[in-house]
């Protein structure tokens, strides 16, 4: 009996010790960032291994927020939110519609279109980068968010796939009842599928928010006015080792920039974990 208990304890330790060590490694960069953001600036690189600051300097968040000149992070974060919100709405709404066509409606050429949709997932963005740039420049879309936002309104293949997997799991009997009443596809989509597919809408909304919040390549190409910089570009611009001296302030801003991501994760954890699981499994 005692031996069994000891064996159980040893087994638990054998699990928890490596698991905690790995947790420390995984979380260390984030803890280091937060700790550096609270240190006196001159101590950031002289006390790199100390995670507890000698004194807590909240002012880093104020000096960091001011950035370098005319525009503060109030502007940059506002810009990031503008991009993220429009991209998320566009991606979620359009992808749900497209997914419904593939999930329920029998139409000619469905298989071919679906194959093309899956194919576009493999397409590297680099192939489209230059021709899209030339095209959007022609539209007068330079220094506008339109090149980043508008394509999201045309469906995001990953979200279509995610919604499609979910919709396939919704029983068809519900549709049939509505069909008896002579309801059309739009009605069946709005009244039956849409309310039931809220979980997959939320999952795609979360990913849409993450990706557009952190988007770097597109604004890098299309946005050159500091007034319009999203936070990702601003952080990059202020991280030049030759000009940046207020590292603690910069780390304060990198910390702020990940807060929305972590907050959304905490709020919607359940949806996210399930969403990741379903797309991967039935692939």
């Amino acid at each position: 009996m005692q031996a069994a208990c000891r064996h159980k304890a040893a087994r638990a330790l054998g699990f928890h010790i490596p698991a905690i060590l790995l947790s420390i490694i995984m979380i260390y960069p984030l803890v280091w960032m937060i700790s550096s953001s609270l240190k006196p600036n001159e101590e950031v690189f002289t006390t790199v291994t100390k995670l507890i600051p000698s004194r807590i300097v909240w002012e880093n968040y104020v000096t960091g927020w001011q950035a370098s000149g005319r525009y503060t992070y109030a502007t940059f974060f506002k810009n990031s939110f503008t991009i993220a919100i429009w991209c998320t709405i566009g991606g979620v709404v359009s992808s749900s519609l497209v997914a419904y066509a593939f999930a329920r409606i029998p139409f000619a050429g469905k298989k071919i279109w679906f194959a093309i949709l899956m194919g576009t997932m493999l397409l590297p963005v680099q192939v489209l980068l230059i021709p899209q740039y030339i095209m959007f420049k022609g539209f007068g879309w330079i220094n506008k968010y339109l090149p980043i936002i508008v394509p999201q309104f045309c469906g995001v293949p990953f979200f279509v796939f995610l919604n499609l997997q979910f919709m396939r799991g919704v029983p068809k009997e519900l549709d049939e009842a509505a069909e008896m009443d002579g309801c059309g596809w739009l009605y069946k989509y709005l009244r039956i599928m849409l309310p039931l597919s809220v979980p997959s809408l939320i999952t795609s909304g979360i990913f849409g928010f993450y990706w557009s919040w952190q988007e770097f390549l597109q604004p890098l190409i299309y946005i050159s006015k500091p007034k319009l910089y999203p936070a990702s570009i601003a952080l990059k611009m202020f991280s030049d080792p030759n000009t940046q001296t207020n590292w603690a302030g910069l780390f304060a801003m990198t910390t702020l920039s990940i807060i929305p991501v972590v907050a959304v994760f905490m709020l919607f954890q359940r949806y996210l974990v399930e969403g990741v699981a379903t797309t991967g499994l039935k692939g």
Binding site: A12, F15, A19, L22, S23, M26, I27, P29, W32, M33, S36, V48, T49, S94, L97, V98, Y100, A101, I105, P106, F107, A108, T120, M121, L122, P124, V127, L128, L129, I130, P131, Q132, I134, M135, V150, P151, C154, G155, G184, L186, Y189, Q214, L217, I221, S232, I233, L235, K236, S239, T254, S257, I258, V261, V262, F265, V273, V276, A277, L281, G283
Partner: protein, 305 residues
């Protein structure tokens, strides 16, 4: 009788027409995007690949010169080599980490949910500029990693991991590995779906832990591994922002990932024709590797009948 048949086919035809109309109406946003933002740009890019174009004067047709120039371009070959190294070290390493941790997290212990969350969070922050900046400071000559090494060895250590061509790429690979969490989640739910009876049968046959993994868990997971492998390879070939922010392709082009080199040719040197030609090479490489993985799947991926 004929009349009844007539109305039946007419009703059927009308319904088919209605379905087609509805189908394409729902598909419309994507179809418009496919034409306007994917197909036309791709065709245009294919054309530009055979031209000299600096985005100011109009494109000038130069035939296959861009492709011929690639063979002469030392940085191009360097970047192909760097990219292959990046992909072929990162993808297996990350998959192995994800699978290994997933196996441990599906054992019966307390606190599994907590560990799962902690391991997953880095994947969310994945490609963000914030993390790239932190990474460059962690692995710099006065960074925290050297601080820890100095503390352990008792001697000041100032080797710049990202400033040296021998190690810079590995710091990017490590950053990639740090994101093993999303693949891990997929593996965890894959493992949970394996029926317990398989394991019971294996135990009855006298299978030990390794044999249970080799003959039950691994075959059952092969479809999930396959999915992760394909997505991992494609995403690794496209990797860009980490290299731009952390090393900007240097030192000595040792982190000049192919996607970054395309960006630089296009938007730093304004050799847009050349950049388009290279992007097609990237597309062909990704296509070829996807095809190889798909082909090979016949031999190692088990789908339950």
């Amino acid at each position: 009788m004929t009349a009844a048949n007539g109305t039946l086919t007419r009703g059927y035809r009308r319904r088919r027409l209605r379905n087609n109309l509805a189908g394409y109406a729902f598909l419309a946003p994507w179809l418009i995007g496919l034409i306007a933002f994917t197909s036309i740009p791709m065709l245009y890019s294919l054309y530009l690949a055979f031209t000299k174009y600096d985005s100011l004067s109009s494109p000038e047709w130069i035939g296959t010169a861009n492709f011929a120039n690639m063979f002469q371009d030392g940085v191009f070959w360097k970047s192909v080599g760097v990219t292959f190294k990046y992909v072929f070290i990162l993808v297996p390493l990350r998959l192995a980490a994800a699978l290994g941790v997933a196996l441990i997290l599906t054992t019966n212990h307390k606190g599994i949910g907590f560990y799962r969350t902690v391991y997953y969070i880095p994947s969310l922050l994945g490609g963000s500029v914030a993390i790239a900046i932190i990474w460059s400071k962690l692995w710099g000559s006065d960074g925290a990693i050297n601080g820890l090494i100095s503390a352990v060895t008792g001697q000041p250590y100032t080797y710049s991991w990202i400033g040296n061509p021998g190690t810079a790429l590995y710091s990017l690979i490590l950053l990639g590995c740090w994101h093993f969490g999303s693949s891990m989640l997929i593996f965890v739910s894959g493992i949970k779906q394996i029926p317990q009876s398989y394991y019971e049968a294996a135990v009855l046959d006298g299978a030990g832990p390794w044999q249970r993994f080799r003959y039950v868990t691994f075959p059952a997971l092969t479809p999930v591994i396959f999915f992760n492998l394909v997505m991992g390879i494609i995403n690794a070939f496209k990797a860009f922002s980490e290299a731009l922010v952390i090393t900007d392709g240097g030192p000595l082009n040792s982190t000049m990932l192919f996607a970054l080199y395309i960006y630089k040719q296009g938007f730093t040197y304004f050799k847009m024709g050349y950049a388009c030609a290279m992007s097609w090479v990237l597309l062909i490489i990704i296509g070829a590797f996807s095809a190889i993985v798909f082909r090979s799947s016949n031999y190692w991926v088990y789908y339950e009948a």
